[in-house]
Symmetry: C2
DNA sequence: CCTTTCACTTTCCATTTTGGAAAGTTATAG
DNA sequence: CTATAACTTTCCAAAATGGAAAGTGAAAGG
């Protein structure tokens, strides 16, 4: 049942990051830090993990004279997230029909 | 967004256990071990965690002369799982609409 | 009775994960 | 040339996971 659960994407902070990335082409590091509420170092490490898995791309570029990091899904990352969401959805459906009859 | 994510229920093995419990009144320890594929000791520890959270009840009883452990949700456990599933469902819906337009 | 066996539970260990603080790095700004 | 912004890495500590192996309690066999 949880065969398709992707350990790289399953931790809550990663699910949050991935959900944001699914909805936009690109997000700033600082915006993700606000959304997840974790420290710089922790966000940086989550992004490294996702990046090492080949799931996201990090682009560094200057904006307003300051260095910024833009985060986006790679194609494999988007596919992996879609699969993971599919697994979650299957679980949700199994669970919801059971719960509704409680 | 992940406010309602319950760390006690989120780990994959626990989600699996909870999904089973949502669908039946009671399951045997041995059946859960088959389903989750973890060792006795690991399953026992997951069940302890769920039990300490007040989410499940463990009933020991003899069947065919052998001791068996029956696992079931408590009411708070069922409610907590329903809330967690609700949070997952919200995430799934946010993600799916984004993914569908990829 | 005493030893096995079953069905877990606990302990022992090792590995991995997660998190923050603080130090380090790099690219401007002044 | 120093300060600062925006990360990244290092340093720790705590918690989570997992299996192997030892421990426990009840019942079955001899």
């Amino acid at each position: 049942m949880t065969d398709r659960f992707d350990p790289v994407l399953h931790p809550p902070a990663r699910l949050q990051i991935a959900t944001v990335l699914a909805n936009v082409d690109t997000v700033e590091f600082s915006r993700l830090r606000e959304i997840t509420g974790v420290s710089d170092s922790v966000l940086s490490k989550h992004l490294s993990a996702l990046s090492e898995a080949g799931y996201i791309a990090l682009k560094k570029a200057a904006l307003d004279g300051r260095q910024r990091t833009w985060v986006s899904f790679t194609r494999p990352g988007r596919k992996a997230f879609a699969a993971h969401v599919g697994a979650l959805n299957a679980l949700v459906r199994h669970a919801e029909q059971a719960i509704s009859g409680q």
